[in-house]
Amino acid sequence: MLSKEQIAQRIAQELRDGYYVNLGIGIPTLVANYIPEGIEVEFQSENGILGMGPFPFDGDEDADLINAGKQTITARAGAAFFDSATSFAMIRGQHVQLTVLGAMEVADNGDIANWKIPGRMVKGMGGAMDLVASADNIIVAMMHTNKEGESKLLKTCTLPITGVQCVKRVVTNLAVLDITENGFKLIERAPGISVEEIVKATEGRLVVEGDIPEMKFA
């Protein structure tokens, strides 16, 4: 079973040279720590920065320089700041090549729910609805099941959805799965995890064709 760091590490393998990438809060943020050697990517944060660098050194924090998770950050040489309308012009206009975000539920048609639990949690969608409605390439990073052991990969989302038929790939602590016309398609298993375990943990339609390789980590 993958740790959160390993989920991020596996997703980082999807990065390609020259990609502009938007990383959501939580596991997605960790992806920045595993950029493959020899490629250059730029991170966009929807509050208005391109060219996000690492956290500042202790004492160098600047209240005027944060990411969309409200964390203090730094800017790399060649960075640019811009307003929120321009930021979402980048996102809506499909200038961002990869979006990685977390989810509470993903349905086997690519629907995603990650912003609201009616009557209980009302934090708001932030930029998530714009991101999932716009991005060509959306990868969801999440645990395969919730704390009660119930699958988060469903036939139909039970929570209010964030976007329809938009997720392309899901990377969980158990597997890598693509969204296809026939539902989730199993692409890779986490090291030591059997196909049966994945089948059991997946409520939505699941396609398993041929031998399913284990994920490889460098």
Partner: protein, 232 residues
């Protein structure tokens, strides 16, 4: 064309109960602290506030929530404010949650005389309820309308007496679009400079959008998530 006023009290001249305000900022970054403090002192109420976030319990718009001065919030993310969640779930506070990109674009549209536009964001979700849907390039979009406000209140880094503004870092965020969309736009700045000091090539908000400007007395600029790495 001297738009300088003495301070937040003078800047808020004409504000009334029940008005709609836009307030710049993302989280606590780039919020008009001085004017918010003055809104608390003025005890105006029944406000509709358009702002990406609702502050934290004891800072930013949270201060207005504490005093129950806000009747309705139009925001995209309010997760940092526990009081907000309680007031919303109990029905004391009316809330319109909208996608962040649509919020930014709706403010810009309000300032730019564009009454409505199509966006894919929110299609098929609660946000689309009651909104017109139309397919463009095979993809469904929803029609979103412009937002304007009686007062737009923004915070900038520097400004001059014409109302020209520049912002620093990610404290820019929603401020430029909101500055465009106010019937009256107030700018509080960290530093008021002489006309000509700001390079005309690098003005973020041209003065035409700003009606009143003042230098804030002090800026706390609170940090929400202090994340650092260790040296060496």
């Amino acid at each position: 064309m001297n738009k300088v006023v003495s301070g937040p009290r003078a800047a808020l001249e004409g504000i009334k109960d029940g008005m709609t305000l836009m307030l710049g900022g993302f989280g606590l970054c780039g919020i008009p602290e001085n004017t918010i403090a003055e809104l608390v002192d003025l005890e105006v109420k029944d406000l509709t506030c358009i702002s990406n976030n609702a502050g934290v319990d004891d800072f930013g718009l949270g201060l207005l929530l504490q005093k129950r001065q806000i009747r309705k919030m139009i925001s995209s993310y309010v997760g940092e404010n526990d009081l907000f969640e309680r007031l919303m779930l109990s029905g004391e506070l009316e809330v319109d949650l909208i996608p962040q990109g649509s919020l930014a674009e709706r403010c810009r549209a309000g300032g730019a005389g564009i009454p409505a536009f199509f966006t894919p964001a929110g299609y098929g979700t609660e946000v689309a309820e009651g909104k017109e849907v139309r397919i463009f390039n095979g993809k469904p979009h929803i029609l979103e309308s412009a937002l304007t406000a009686d007062f737009a209140i923004v915070k900038a880094w520097k400004g001059d007496h014409f109302g020209n503004l520049v912002y620093k870092g990610t404290a820019r965020n929603f401020n430029p679009m909101m500055a465009m969309a106010g019937k009256i736009t107030i700018a509080e700045v960290e530093e008021l400079v002489e006309p000509g000091e700001l390079d005309p090539n690098f003005i973020h908000t041209p003065g035409i959008f700003v009606n009143r400007i003042f230098q804030g007395e002090k800026f706390e600029k609170r940090i929400e998530q202090r994340t650092v790495r260790q040296r060496g």
